[in-house]
């Protein structure tokens, strides 16, 4: 079974790097999703982590809420980016396994 030339070009990262990246992506997705959820629920533990909102016409409470929402969006966006990373690294892992199987 000859190796399709298309596959060889797509396998960019080595086996170690791709497994590392997929693990970190999984960790990032799970953890940032939880943090994002907690921020959406306005958890008080993250009170020092929220960005400053400059609009002075809003009351203190409304500014807090807006800050929480901003931080939560940040988290969800990062989750999306890590999902993309995971898919990419997952494909790399798949190609690496195939390449080493063909070598043997």
């Amino acid at each position: 079974m000859a190796k399709s030339p298309r596959y060889s070009k797509l396998h960019i990262c080595g086996p170690g790097l791709s497994i590392c990246c997929s693990l970190i992506s999984v960790w990032g997705i799970i953890m940032l999703a939880i943090v994002g959820g907690l921020l959406s629920a306005k958890s008080a533990a993250f009170i020092e982590d929220i960005p400053e909102v400059d609009e002075h016409n809003l009351s203190y409470e409304e500014r807090l809420n807006k800050g929480f929402d901003l931080a939560a969006t940040n988290c969800y966006g990062a989750v999306g980016l890590y999902l993309g990373c995971l898919i990419f690294c997952g494909i790399q892992v798949f190609f690496n396994i195939k390449a080493s199987a063909m070598k043997n």
Binding site: I24, M31, A44, A45, P51, A71, N74, G77
Partner: protein, 861 residues
């Protein structure tokens, strides 16, 4: 059933045995014992040189076979396509008759292989020469054409110069092949030595040739040298020799060259076929051998081990039987007898081997029966010292206390979760990972301790929930008991620090709001503390008190174990004059400290008059020694009524323990020794044999009338760890005894205080961990969370990776290693100094499994 269970608790009951083998049956009996792997043979010929032992010839033959097998193995490994078949499941140690067959077979194989190898080398050398010659012949044509042109040119020049001398100048030439790298220096040398009177032409050979010696591909160049005269010829030849250039005879005329070329081509073809055949033959030889090499290795190693063991036996005078001495666990004697019977049967002899138990005063080796789980923990206990024979083994307790102390210092549920997942991966994939990365020592250490790491991770999750610390954030599961009590019109902009009042009786007339509900958070630290500025002051006090309580509990437990040891060995003197003073001192001062901690926690609540009254416990402890109390000045600072009287009594009794321990045991033993020698004097006067000299080593119980002998274990060979003050009358030395007791006393009493303080490292490391964790979050991850602009999530995405990397590198690896080390130290010094002697030696049975494993991995720890 009872003593089977106590194997890990105390170590197996061992006995010294004598085995009588019939000479013919000895080999197969020892083979059976090797398969069983539960006896440790003693060397009965320690003074005999290795070359004078009985079976030295057999051992030599085995080693010779091993050498041949190693040669075969290296040759097989050179050919990368031949796989080495694994050893058979059960390779039996061959009978002594089969040894000759194996030797012959291996001899034949080695001889054949060496012949094939030398043939192959000669053929390859020949092949290389022919190839080089072929290239020379092809390149030479161009050279000679040029030379002719030059010659005609020179001829015309000479003709112009001297009309009469029209002799054609015939230049001599040498053709050869040299390594491409040496060409520049070759040219330079030629130019220097021949002063420019030689003419060198080179042409590179495009294809790479295989060097037969190194089996690598090399680039070579064809060269041809033109010179005039014999002197230059000799010079040039020497230079060629020096540069390892091979010179070939090259005919001048083109037709001769063509003929030679054809001849070379045909010879090359023939040689190639012969070479291929030779290589195929070698390959088939090696493939055949590869099927059996590992099995042969296994069998030869087993045989060698058996002969080494048999060299340790004593040979009876009439050469009929061999005597062996070995240590064996008492529980396994039936299995050993069965193995001996099987061995005798297999050897075809009908005289059974005899197994005798011997009595001895020597200390037997310590043997614990372990499985893959307890092995790790036993290793960390053994790293400090192997337990003395039959003393309590700290390992089963270490299984729980070690991960727990680690977790107290590590205390973060998120990090604990990651650690547990990593360990779980190693545990679930045990069989696949076992043989991977055998040469990587770091991985072997992690893999060997996978159960320890798993438990450490799980316990860290538990302590993380108690400290309420998940990646430096707290979880609010049950709802906090505190409220920030503000009125509706409170201005959040003006106030930056808010004081939470713990008073549960809020005075509504003064507009006070109840901020503390009165019901503490059900499990763990209240989540409100993460937002407070004085979080560290609170957790410091909490963690310090935890550490002291845990430490004193562990030290007390160690003392109780020492009591069990004293009772087991029947040493009542130690119980009365060592254990009792020790436990009284520890209890009356340090357990009292723990009680004071508990009272202070329970008695004082958040009401204003109560908080003013809470005394400083450390000052209280110090005052106790000065017979003072804070309650003398301020009566509300008393923890309970009658505190000063109680404390005075406690301290007096505790201090009285010091001289008790210092003097009690030496005095009692001295009196006993005097009494014994008096009795012995009287008896020997009346002509009777001294009965006491024949007694066993349980001195204390028999002479005191308090019969506390433990009857279920055999007293034979059950030596107590400290044999210096034995019942042997000759060894009694009062001075040594007194000094030793003095040392033990000082060590214990000073140690009590210093070890209690030493347990405060549980607080210190957990503080460091919490702070590092918080710093990582605040300085790294917060950047991503706080960035409010549109690419905020990109920044968070980028920032998460360094945060994760630092978490793993600094917090998990570095802090984990640090906490591991400190937990280990607490076990080795603070816990084990209370009861552990650790003066035993390891039971190393004669086991084929271990020998084969060691031979496969000589670098394994």
């Amino acid at each position: 059933k009872f003593f089977k269970m106590s194997s890990l608790f105390r170590g197996e009951d061992m006995t010294l045995c004598q085995i009588y083998f019939q000479s013919e049956a000895a080999y197969s009996c020892v083979a059976q014992l090797g398969e069983l792997g539960i006896v440790q043979f003693r060397d009965l010929n320690p003074t005999v040189n290795a070359f004078q032992r009985k079976y030295v010839n057999e051992v030599r033959r085995c080693e010779e076979m091993e050498r041949k097998l190693r040669f075969l193995e290296s040759e097989i490994l050179k050919e990368k396509e031949i796989p080495l078949a694994e050893a058979q499941e059960f390779c039996e140690a061959p009978k002594s008759k089969e040894m000759i067959e194996m030797e012959a077979a291996l001899e034949q194989l080695e001889h054949d292989l060496q012949e094939v190898n030398s043939n192959k080398d000669a053929l390859k050398k020949n092949y290389l020469e022919l190839q080089e010659l072929r290239h020379i012949l092809t390149k030479a044509t161009t050279f000679f054409e040029e030379q002719d042109r030059i010659q005609t040119g020179e001829q015309t020049v000479l003709q112009m110069e001297t009309q009469d001398r029209i002799q054609p100048l015939r230049l001599g030439f040498l053709a050869g092949v040299i390594d491409r790298e040496r060409v520049p220096s070759f040219e330079l040398m030629l130019w220097r030595i021949c002063r420019g009177n030689v003419f060198l032409r080179t042409a590179e050979i495009e294809e790479t040739l295989e060097d037969p010696k190194t089996n690598t591909q090399v680039n070579k160049t064809v060269f041809i040298l033109f010179f005039q005269g014999e002197q230059l010829k000799t010079k040039v030849k020497k230079i060629c020799e020096g540069f390892k250039a091979t010179i070939y005879p090259c005919p001048e005329t083109a037709s001769e060259r063509r003929e030679m070329g054809l001849g070379v081509m045909t010879r090359l073809e023939e040689l190639k076929t012969v070479l291929d055949q030779s290589l195929n033959l070698r390959k088939s030889l090696l493939t055949n051998a590869a099927l059996n090499v590992k099995t042969w290795f296994c069998r030869v190693r087993k045989m060698k081990a058996i002969y080494h063991t048999m060299n340790m036996f004593n040979l009876e005078v009439n050469q009929k039987c061999l005597i062996a001495e070995c240590w064996a666990p008492v529980n396994e004697l039936t299995r050993i007898k069965l193995a001996l019977d099987k061995g005798t049967e297999l050897s075809g002899s009908n005289i059974q081997s005899i197994l005798n138990r011997m009595e001895t005063k020597e200390q037997p080796p310590t043997h614990h029966r372990l499985n893959k789980f307890s092995e790790g923990f036993q290793n960390i206990v053994d790293a400090y010292g192997i337990s003395s024979y039959r003393e309590i083994n700290p390992a089963p307790f270490t299984v729980i206390t070690f991960p727990f102390l680690f977790a107290v210092m590590f205390g973060d549920a998120g990090h604990g979760l990651i650690m547990s997942l990593f360990a779980l991966f190693m545990v679930l994939r045990e069989s696949q990972l076992k043989n991977k990365f055998r040469t990587n020592e770091v991985w072997q250490i992690f893999f060997g301790g996978r159960y320890i790491i798993l438990l450490m991770g799980l316990f860290s999750i538990y302590t993380g929930v108690i400290y309420n610390d998940v990646f430096s954030k707290s979880m609010n599961i049950f709802g906090s008991s505190w409220r920030v009590g503000v009125t509706k019109d409170f201005d959040f902009e003006k106030v930056t620090v808010f004081d939470l009042n713990p008073n549960t009786n809020a005075n509504h007339s003064l507009n006070e709001i109840k901020m503390y509900s009165g019901n503490p958070y059900p499990f763990g630290v209240d989540p409100i503390w993460i937002m407070s500025i004085n979080k560290i002051a609170f957790t410091n006090s909490l963690k310090m008190k935890f550490s002291v309580i845990i430490g004193i509990m562990q030290m007390m437990f160690g003392l109780v174990l020492s009591l069990l040891n004293h009772l087991f060995f029947g040493k009542m003197v130690s119980v009365l004059f060592e254990f009792i003073p020790q436990v009284i001192f520890l209890t009356f001062i340090f357990v009292y400290l723990c009680v004071m901690i508990l009272i202070k926690w329970l008695r004082f609540d958040g009401s204003p008059d109560s908080t003013q009254c809470a005394p400083n416990l450390l000052i209280e402890l110090i005052n106790m020694f000065f017979f003072k109390s804070a309650a003398d000045e301020d009566p509300c600072k008393a923890l309970y009524s009658g505190q000063s009287i109680v404390q005075k009594i406690l301290i007096v009794l505790a201090v009285l323990c010091i001289p008790t321990m210092l003097l009690g045991k030496p005095i009692v033993l001295y009196l006993r020794h005097k009494r014994k020698s008096q009795i012995g004097q009287r008896l020997s006067d009346s002509g009777h044999l001294n009965p006491i000299a024949q007694e066993d080593s349980t001195s204390d119980s028999t002479n005191e009338g308090v019969d506390l002998k433990i009857m279920r274990e055999t007293p034979v060979g059950k030596d107590s760890p400290d044999t210096s003050h034995d019942d042997e009358n000759e060894n009694f030395d009062m001075g040594e005894l007194a000094v030793e007791q003095c040392i033990h006393t000082i060590e214990y009493f000073l140690g009590c205080i210093s070890h209690t303080a030493s347990y405060l490292r549980l607080w210190a490391l957990s503080l460091a961990h919490a702070e590092l964790s918080e710093v990582l979050w605040t300085m790294i991850l917060r950047i991503g969370l706080k960035s409010g602009s549109v690419p905020g999530f990109v920044i968070l995405w980028l920032v998460f990776v360094p945060w994760a990397a630092f978490t793993i590198g600094v917090l998990l690896l570095m802090e984990g290693l640090s906490a591991f080390l400190h937990a280990l130290r607490l076990h080795w010094v603070e816990f084990q100094s209370k009861f552990y002697k650790g003066e035993g030696y390891q039971f190393m049975p004669f086991s084929f499994e271990q020998i084969l494993e060691q031979a496969e991995n000589p670098d394994k720890i």
